[in-house]
Chain length 305, copies 2
């Protein structure tokens, strides 16, 4: 069965001269223009999706998209992906093809070849681990650690409530990140995978700084408002601050470049300024009376020691 | 919890100037001397090991070793690894560190940095997907498809019965493969992960050839003999032909180079000639009366459509 799936992939995956050795050998060979930028992210049944309740093609798409979003966070250009599948034994053959059918169109759209992988089955639930390999562009990579004191903090898109659908259908901000780096001196970035506050906390720690947020400026999505109205007691702002899987970019840029960016709005998706990097460590909100501390809430994988 | 594990890794993983961005950013950056050679392999509880019955350090070692063996099959030099963990919730924190403690010494031994990964937890069993990134050496890569008619077929080490221990403790044949490519004109290779016959079948298909085996020449391990004596009805030869996870190299070389190799025995591990590549497709055994067909037996992940 594994062989027939490999042959199916070989028939369906278009040739790519940047992948001189693709599916079917012990390893793939990928031609990169510079350093190798590599990220891996796994998604699993009942944590990141519920297989029983959704179209497997959306799951396949998501498995690749979360990794493309990691490339975006680095302002790297994705080139190829390796897909490691862990399939439930029953129905695994059909499921594997459905996952691939969901992944392939997104791969084409982002000029990313599926260059190889590993297919496993077990008496357990579905898990998919994708590795994306990319390369820097001439304008260099973005790190979490590159923010400077006084840089503005900005986000793409609007935030919160992705559970209502965006966590499947989001667009990884790959070209957007490269534009921000090349044309607007973006100095640091991360993608919002676990929640704005927790991901911003990681960025500010990596940059050995803190951040002062203007909570009134946070762009709140319609989904966040809908969720707040429907579920409670969290407000729409709570959802925007702490919901995971927005997969928007959070980034920093020097004040003048940030202002130019806000005037230009060159990305197709809106960019909003939400705060400023400060010397004092931690997450803070600006109030009329000074600063108040914010807790870095969001999603973390939890397990006992 | 995930953050404390990342900080643990950052403290324990030595600096490597070939990994300018390692654990802790959205992606790792790896400096390769040429094309990127990339392989991913996943191992899972109750298929590739039984967590309840063995030391997690051996599992961590194996998760990396099977991937280093894929680099060996290509005669590539490993540089860095990404580790994607799927941990059971209960005890996952301790388990993650034990897995890493088993992986790290092997990584050092093979000059491979653990450059990043992803840590997940769920209400399921343990799975580990490792991606290894490597580079070609000046003598070029080995492919499964490179064998020529008349090439001799050889293996490193002895085969069968790895379930008695070798499937945890094998040494990936990385330096050996590079020596075979550089000094003995090795033309094609694969590692024996699913069984000699099935992996050889894949190599001969990729090379659009067949193979005639001399079954009397197959190097049978002590473990294969022990297993045959203990379990039956399979013979020791059956185990050598079809047991998975030997992680020895199967490779081809032109006759003169192969003969020189057999005289030199330069690898530390013995090299044995077991057959010859022929034009007629398929796996064949040589008998006094001509050729008899062999079935490509071995391990395959099975799942229903």
């Amino acid at each position: 069965m594994e062989r027939s799936f490999i042959e199916y992939l070989q028939r369906n995956e278009p040739a790519d001269d940047r992948v001189p050795v693709g599916i079917g050998d012990d390893a793939a060979v990928i031609r990169l223009g510079g350093d190798c930028v590599a990220a891996v992210d796994m998604i699993t049944d009942e944590v990141d999706f519920i297989l029983a309740e959704c179209d497997p093609q959306r799951i396949g798409r998501k498995a690749l998209a979360v990794n493309l979003s990691d490339m975006a966070a680095m302002a790297a250009r994705p080139v190829a992906a390796l897909v490691s599948l862990l399939l439930p034994r029953e129905g695994g053959g059909v499921l594997a093809k459905q996952l691939y059918a969901g992944m392939a169109p997104l791969a084409r759209q982002y000029s990313t070849s599926i260059a190889g992988g590993d297919t496993n089955s077990w008496n357990g639930k579905l898990a998919i681990s994708v590795t994306v390999l990319g390369e820097p562009t001439p304008c260099g990579l973005l790190r979490r650690s590159g923010a400077q004191q006084g840089d503005h903090v900005l986000v793409t898109g609007d935030l919160g409530g992705s559970i209502l659908g965006k966590h499947f259908d989001f667009m990884p901000r790959v070209e957007e990140a490269i534009t921000l780096r090349r044309d607007y001196q973006a100095s640091a970035a991360a993608d919002i995978s676990d929640g704005l506050l927790i991901d911003l906390d990681r960025l500010t720690r990596a940059s050995s700084l803190g951040v002062e947020l203007d909570l009134e400026a946070i762009p709140i999505s319609a989904a966040a408002r809908e969720l707040a109205a429907r579920v409670g007691p969290s407000t729409a702002l709570d959802h925007a601050l702490a919901d995971g899987e927005d997969f928007e970019l959070i980034f920093t840029a020097p004040p003048r470049a940030a202002e130019q960016l806000l005037r230009d709005q060159p990305l197709g998706v809106p960019v909003t300024r939400i705060g400023v990097m400060i010397a004092r460590p931690g997450l803070w909100r600006r109030t009329p009376h000074g600063r108040e501390a914010l807790e870095p809430r969001g999603f973390e994988h939890r397990f006992t020691e």
